[in-house]
């Protein structure tokens, strides 16, 4: 996509525990209100359970728990972001799903070692838009069951 010669990619933005994150929009199937989630015993701790999404049974990943944060009650703004990676479909439970944004490639820097406390493994990049930071996530990492939850330093992006 071009706008004045720049290369733009589209992202879906959402919020988890006060931080703003983004996912490539082609990875997102749709977004839903949080409805019925059935807990699954003895599953990964960041899994809230399973839900039906358009006729399919999908795992619900609690993004707070994924990042090692304590869970919070659902609010009216909580959303399920249904994502697709290859054959896998999953739902990410987030505090709020905000908007659809086109971000120019030049506004994105790769995550680098100097950023203390950041869990680089979750991120595919960091975007700066209007003096605000947006953490761009790697969906494969989020869905990787072998990756244990780890703290993402709070305060980034505020």
């Amino acid at each position: 996509m071009n706008d004045n010669g720049k290369i733009l990619d589209s992202y879906i933005l959402f919020e988890v525990a006060g931080n703003r994150y983004g996912l490539r929009s082609h990875e997102v199937q749709h977004m839903e209100m949080v409805d019925q989630i059935t807990p699954v015993p003895h599953a990964a701790p960041f899994l809230d359970g399973v839900a039906f999404s358009r006729g399919q049974v999908v795992p619900v990943i609690n993004m707070r728990a994924r990042f090692g944060l304590p869970r919070a009650d659902h609010s009216l703004r909580s959303r399920l972001i249904v994502v697709k990676a290859g054959e896998r479909i999953a739902a990410l439970l987030v505090d709020g799903a905000r908007e659809f944004l086109q971000i120019p490639k030049e506004a994105i820097q790769p995550p680098h070692d100097a950023m203390a406390g950041l869990s680089r493994k979750w991120l595919s990049g960091i975007a700066t838009v209007k003096d605000q930071l947006i953490l761009l996530l790697s969906l494969d990492a989020i869905l990787n069951i072998d990756l244990a939850p780890e703290l993402v330093e709070q305060g980034i992006g505020r």
């Binding site: 749709h30 977004m31 209100m33 409805d35 019925q36 059935t38 807990p39 699954v40 015993p41 003895h42 599953a43 990964a44 701790p45 899994l47 359970g49 399973v50 839900a51 039906f52 358009r54 006729g55 399919q56 049974v57 999908v58 795992p59 990943i61 896998r88 479909i89 999953a90 908007e99 659809f100 869905l143 069951i145």
Partner: protein
């Protein structure tokens, strides 16, 4: 009823009769649908007409055997009409097709009424209409009477000729009724009266809405009928035919070939020899039994594999090669068997599609719209269970399309659309799914209107109101953009039930609509279904499903009868002490305390055990949805299902659960924190 039958009507004979009727009627419906869609050439029509003739001929025969006179007579009349048509396929017009469909429906009602011991609906009116069609045509009586004009050719031609010869042309409509019938005033008597005083140029039935029939006669009189004896007055209204020879509006002009006065020498209808059917009729219950046994064999095969492994490991010196080979071969055969049984359950989707043209026709006539149905992929096969469940939802979608989705012919004309709207039904197999599409070229759904209605109803609308969001709003229980009393699309099935049923089958529904252009619903359904009988139970106030086959018995337990200590509780059952496990402990839940709790006695690899649950809520046949995602591979959970409310219900599996219990004992953890993916 019949006392003149040579033999006794047994219940078995009647069952066979009903089954055969069902088959013939199904074949008739399919053939009629093809006939409607076929073009009007004789080559296309003749084989279909012959097929119909054979079917009605058979129906007549078997009805006679069991003494069901109503269906025998109606089938006979239809058979006669079809015989005419096979000689002259071009004679079949819109009215004739309508009549065939009405006759089919009436036959279905008659058989159904007989089956349920209800009063048999009358068939005389339809029979008469059919007889009228067989008889109408060029003058039955040779043109000898001076009051009868000599005519030939099409109706318009006849009217012209008659007028040229000084006759007056009148149009009459006779509406039959049970009251008139009681006084022997019916279409036959009316016709006879006309024939006495004039020449009938045309006699045909008019199918009004709601299945009532009236008859139209175009009659030529030498003199203006004036006195009451000239024409039958009762139930008849008449008027002179205008000079513009305007026939009944919205009737396609009948194309009648020129008949010469000499009798045409058409060959006698030759009923070809029908080969004995290679089809076997099977009771669904027997198929379900086969499926169940195959399912259990799969479970046993897995156990066998484990046992073989165990034995071989315990005795390393043994050459287990032969054993392993046999096991592998056995697994292969078992897989083939399961697939073959699944295929037996497949039926063509025409079973569902077959009913649609009828429903559309009725509804279109009721609502004054002009609709045509096209069907593609009738032979696509789908699981019988799915077919049974999907019939009503599809009927609802099709009815919706006609009653809400179609504009009236006037509206369509104003938009430069063809007056006849089109509904397309298609089915095809894609991978392991069946895709069914219901599309129309009507007015489409206006997202703005729906959005507005939704906001007014207090529903939450996502910012991006796309087609998927539109569908979800439409499927919200209780949501409706029309009065709920809408007869066309109502009858207790709303969109929410439609999507629920589809989801319960493991399928999905998609909507694509454009305002002014039309709407398309796409149903995706799994090709084969894993269906299991499950016991629905509760623990910690949550519902779970356990395969029925795994449960031997359910006994109520008085907690005081438990012996032993916390981690090794036993209870006495049929003289034996069985270990008892609490489902709460597996789940990490707490159930409300009760004086008695149910215990499921289950046979496992480790012997018989008891599983204590909060409550048993009932039995249900459920569709098993596999949990494929790696995140969902947890011990004790073998799948998920849905019980109709959109909430996933987990299906429990006892062997995995026992491994968890053991792990809990070993690690002394009440509820282990780590995911137990290595169990």
């Amino acid at each position: 009823m019949p006392s003149e039958l040579p033999f006794e009507i047994t219940a078995e004979l009647l069952n066979d009769f009903y089954t055969e009727c069902d088959e013939h009627l199904r074949s008739i419906r399919e053939t009629l649908a093809s006939l409607e869609a076929a073009n009007v050439s004789s080559e296309s029509r003749t084989p279909l007409l012959e097929q119909l003739f054979r079917s009605f001929h058979s129906l007549k025969g078997i009805s006679g055997i069991v003494g069901l006179r109503a269906s025998e007579n109606l089938a006979h009349r239809t058979e006669d009409y079809l015989k005419e048509l096979t000689r002259n396929p071009a004679r079949l017009d819109e009215q004739g097709l309508n009549l065939l469909m009405s006759a089919t429906q009436r036959l279905e009602h008659v058989v159904a009424a007989h089956r349920t011991s209800q009063p048999i609906p009358e068939v005389e009116t339809l029979s008469e209409s059919l007889r009228a069609l067989v008889g109408s045509g060029p003058a039955e009586n040779p043109a000898k009477h001076p009051i009868k004009p000599s005519l030939s050719g099409s109706l318009a031609g006849k009217v012209r000729d008659a007028r040229a010869q000084g006759f007056q042309i009148w149009k009459f409509v006779f509406v039959p009724s049970p009251a008139l019938d009681g006084r022997n005033i019916n279409v036959t008597s009316v016709r006879q009266q006309f024939q006495q005083h004039g020449e009938i140029l045309e006699a045909k039935p008019l199918i009004e809405g709601a299945g009532s029939i009236s008859f139209q006669f175009i009659v030529a009189f030498r003199h203006t009928p004036s006195s009451e004896s000239d024409w039958p007055l009762e139930g008849v209204t008449g008027e002179p035919l205008p000079d513009t020879t305007e026939l009944t509006p919205a009737t396609p002009v009948r194309v009648e070939p020129e008949h010469s006065s000499t009798a045409s020498t058409t060959p006698e209808l030759h009923t070809p020899f029908v080969a004995p059917s290679h089809v076997v009729r099977v009771d669904m219950a027997r198929l379900d039994e086969l499926m169940r046994i195959a399912g259990e064999m799969v479970v046993e095969r897995a156990r066998l594999e484990e046992q073989v492994d165990r034995v071989l490991q315990a005795h390393p010196g043994i050459d287990g090669q032969g054993l392993l080979e046999v096991q592998k071969a056995f697994s292969g055969h078992l897989r083939d068997l399961r697939e073959a049984i699944m295929r037996v359950r497949m039926v063509p989707v025409s079973e569902v599609f077959g009913r649609m043209p009828f429903a559309v026709r009725d509804l279109a006539q009721e609502t004054g719209k002009s609709v045509k149905v096209q069907i593609f992929g009738q032979d696509t096969e789908i699981d019988k269970y799915v077919v049974e469940r999907i019939k009503d939802p599809m009927l609802h979608l099709v009815r919706n399309a006609v009653s809400h989705g179609m504009e009236s012919p006037a509206e369509r004309a104003a938009q430069n659309k063809p007056a006849e709207a089109l509904i397309t039904l298609s089915a095809k197999t894609v991978g392991d799914q069946v895709l069914i599409e219901i599309a129309d070229n009507g007015r489409g759904i206006d997202p703005e209107v729906v959005k507005q209605k939704a906001l007014e109803a207090g529903l939450r609308i996502p910012g991006n109101f796309d087609q998927a969001a539109l569908l979800e709003v439409l499927c919200t229980p209780g949501f409706s953009t029309r009065d709920e009393a809408d007869r066309g699309a109502g009858r207790g099935m709303g969109m929410s039930v439609v999507i629920q049923t589809i989801r319960e089958l493991g399928g999905s529904l998609m909507l694509h609509t454009k305002k002014g252009e039309g709407t398309r619903f796409t149903l995706r359904l799994p090709l084969t279904l894993a269906v299991a009988d499950a016991m629905i139970i509760k623990a910690g106030n949550q519902r779970f499903a356990i395969p029925q086959a795994a449960i031997e018995e359910i006994v109520p337990l008085d907690p005081h009868r438990l012996q032993g200590i916390e981690n090794a509780r036993l209870f006495l059952h049929r003289g034996r002490a069985l270990p008892i496990y609490s489902l709460d402990r597996f789940l990490g839940t707490t159930s409300p305390a009760r004086s008695q709790t149910p215990v499921l006695v289950m046979e496992t690899e480790r012997g018989r055990i008891g599983l204590q649950v909060q409550q048993v809520t009932g039995q249900k046949e459920v569709v098993v949805r596999a949990l494929r995602d790696p995140l969902l591979q947890v011990p004790g959970i073998s799948g998920a299902t849905e019980l109709g409310d959109g909430r996933p219900v987990l299906i429990l599996e006892i062997e995995g659960m026992l491994r968890v219990y053991k792990h809990q004992e070993n690690t002394r953890q009440a509820f282990p924190k780590a995911p137990l993916t290595n169990l």
